[in-house]
């Protein structure tokens, strides 16, 4: 499958929510879409294009915006495709893919806890690798490695 074919098959469904398909290292292509068209795109990609396997969901903090990318695999085409969307830096959120691909569940929990992206209608959005109540998003650029987080430790001695 080539980027042109992806474009031709997705654009009738998605319309202006599809921003373009570009070639991407050894995959069928990188589909860039608006978050408003997320669910439609996921359904099209899984049911019409045969990408039934969601491998990974990741998020990147670009400081002025955040990016969420999805890696999907088709057993028929024996190819990966990437889906990626840009979200506003303040209150970034996108529809959860876990209703379409159950495998998205944990990946989205991880992206939420590390990059602070909220996945709407996620069935179980809570901490995965960090302890409950952890208040930071460590993979944000503003979280500096060399500045230890400030935790107030009160001495038990009076």
């Amino acid at each position: 499958m080539q980027p042109e074919e992806l474009q031709a098959r997705i654009s009738p469904k998605l319309g202006e929510n599809l921003l373009g398909v570009e070639p991407f290292a050894g995959t069928a292509g990188r589909v860039r879409f608006r978050p408003a068209g997320a669910l439609e795109l996921f359904e099209t990609v899984r049911d019409d294009l045969g990408f039934r396997h969601l491998s990974m969901v990741g998020a990147i903090d670009w400081v002025d915006h955040r990016e969420v990318f999805y890696v999907v695999w088709s057993d028929d085409a024996r190819q990966y495709a990437l889906l990626s969307t840009d979200l506003a830096a303040d209150a970034p959120h996108v529809e959860s893919a876990s209703g379409i691909w159950p495998s998205a569940n944990w990946h989205e929990r991880e992206a939420w806890e590390f990059v602070g992206v909220t996945f709407d209608h996620h069935p179980d959005l809570r901490h995965l690798l960090m302890p409950e109540g952890y208040a930071f998003h460590p993979l944000l650029r503003s979280f500096k490695l060399h500045e230890p987080e400030e935790l107030e430790v009160k001495s038990r001695r009076v």
Binding site: L54, I60, D75, L129
Partner: protein, 378 residues
Amino acid sequence: MWINMGPQHPMTHGLWNLRVKIDGETVIDVDPEMGFLHRGIEKISEDRHYNEVITLMDRCCYVAGLAWEHLYILSAEDALHVKPPQRAEYLRVLCDEFQRIGSHIMWYAAFVQDIGLMSPFLYGMRDRDLILDLFQSYTGARLTYEYLRVGGVRSDLPPGFTARAREVLDWLDARFGEYDQLCLGSDIFRKRCDNLGILKASDCVAHGVTGPMLRSAGMKRDLRKDRPYSVYRQLDFDVAVAEGADVTARYLVRMEEMRQSVRILRQVLDWLDQNPGPVLAENLPRWLGAPYAPIGREGYLLKRNYPKGVGFSSVEEPHGEAQAYVVNEGGEHPYRVKFRSPVFANISAARQYLVGYHVADIPPIMGSVDVCVGEVDR
């Protein structure tokens, strides 16, 4: 009632907690708790030089360090537009396949002990040591190798290595039959493994399960064949598949994979004997390629205007399908590194293959998943 199996429990083989909801002896819900081993490898990578990330990869999975190095290197080379020489590619496959056998033997030893058979553990560890000896002879380490480099590998093989490696392969090839006799010939093993933890192919796909678990459900999917990386296209081997999707089927798949790895390794050793050559790409900037160059200010100054790029790679790691996504913004450190751990996805589907079985079935079922907590938590 909810009970905790872990973080300190013989079943876990690492540090994680499986919360289990039981009704009598039957499992009615599970909730894996991960993160006890989280070291922030993705975050630390953002503050490391490209070659320094390799050190972290060994810590990602402590039984398959070289496979994870290979994953990262493929992605980093993609992002930095570097091509390694052919001999380095064969050396990487040599690492991968020995690592696959080592990892599967480690799995075998631990898993069979969980079921109640003691001696296979001893045989397994004895045989795995031979592979670690080989690793030590050309990487200098037994667990944390740091052998692969962006643009190739650190050093060539020592004299006499291929002959020694062939002896080890002959030895191992003769052992797999014995492993089978110990397990498949044992009534205890069959009673504790047959028809347990069934996860059908359609559920595997929906929940992102890959590797031996997916192949044990009859699905012929192996990235070495489907999306050949490195030099796998030139090598002759079969994909191990089994029917049944249960614990026994996963055992059969891993055993067959080890035999196929031996087959691959024989071809690789023949090729390495006949084709001497460089093992590191030439004309790499000093900060990136030179194996012994000190990493210091001088090295850092050379690369300010390196071309930007995004690298994506995926390899068939012993546990399944691992992926790496490396964003290079032209600086000396990766801007963002994201890894997909196969075990992460395999555990996330735990509800699908544990609910409905008995509490005593959990150790064999989770054993057959081959959990490596290092790569789940990263």
